[in-house]
Amino acid sequence: MAQRIDYENYIFILYLFNRLKVGGGRMRTAKLLYLLEDDLYRNNMIGPTYVMKRYPMGPYNPEIASDLKNLGDNTFLKVKPVYYDKIDDFADVYSCNRNTTKFLKSIEELLEENSEIFEKLDSLVDIYAKKKGEELKDLIYSLKSTGRNQVSINDYQEQTVIINPKNLSNPKLRFYLDEDWYDTVEVLLNPDLYYGLQQGIIDAQKGRFTNELS
């Protein structure tokens, strides 16, 4: 049996970049997703399900970097390597493109069904869109109560879990794809599947059929 992929997290990333309209790296993405998870956790809701641990630069989960890379490689985000003096190296900056918008348009109905959760992300973007990753980190460090224990980030030990959304028992709302939406998103987010389906439709339109398989 194929393992379930958390396509929900990919949807949150794409939605975030589509709302931001400006580019961002993995740090900025992680901090905004953390702020969303924290806000939802306090409101007994589950959105993205990244288990955030305390890293030197604040709450983070390395899966965010690989998810961003996958979305970039699959052309759902634009990727631009940018040189940073601070690290004396290049780092990828992601931003939305036509595919981001097209994908979100094709799941509009799903986003509407879960508008209460996505409106939380809208509000966060309205407040923090102009803040850089570093500024968001400082902001999170300045919070007096955050995460599962509702204490300052400084009170969590390095590498310990700050928040694990899946641990929330009896959530009021949870963004979780049912089987039909899961199968749909799986196709929409995989260009080779989407392209294969398109070829099938074109065959039907052009009358390229067969009655036999062997």
Binding site: L110, V187, Q198, D203, G207
Partner: protein, 119 residues
């Protein structure tokens, strides 16, 4: 029990079908050629922009198909099938098959700009 419905496959389906393991081929071919009206109406639909397609789960495979009688009223303009015929709606058209993904990962081949793909 109602009669088994005739099945028509796109060439694309036929090509993809031949790429899957033989033991899966046999099972899938058997299942497709034994579908009746009740069976097809029990299959779920994709959602959003793919809502005109029904999906059949077979092991780790997903199959995209339509039942013409079901498609004709609501969705025929979305697919624009060359053989669409109001006098011949008791049949199934199978478009595509894929193995369910184990990982979401970068494509290994040529990148495709999905914004350019129009149905």
């Amino acid at each position: 029990m109602s009669d088994v419905l005739p099945v028509i496959y796109t060439k694309n389906f036929q090509y993809n079908f031949k790429q899957i393991p033989e033991k899966d081929q046999k099972r899938i071919e058997y299942d497709l050629t034994h579908i009746n009206k009740q069976d097809i109406l029990r299959q779920g639909r994709f959602k959003g922009e793919l809502n005109y397609l029904r999906k059949m789960r077979n092991g780790d495979f997903r199959i995209f198909l339509t039942y013409c009688a079901d498609c004709y009223e609501e969705f025929r303009n979305k697919i624009n099938c060359a053989i669409c015929d109001s006098e011949n709606l008791e049949r199934i058209i199978v478009f595509f098959i894929y193995p369910r993904k184990k990982l979401y990962q970068p494509r290994k081949f040529q990148q495709i700009d999905i914004a350019k793909i129009e149905f």
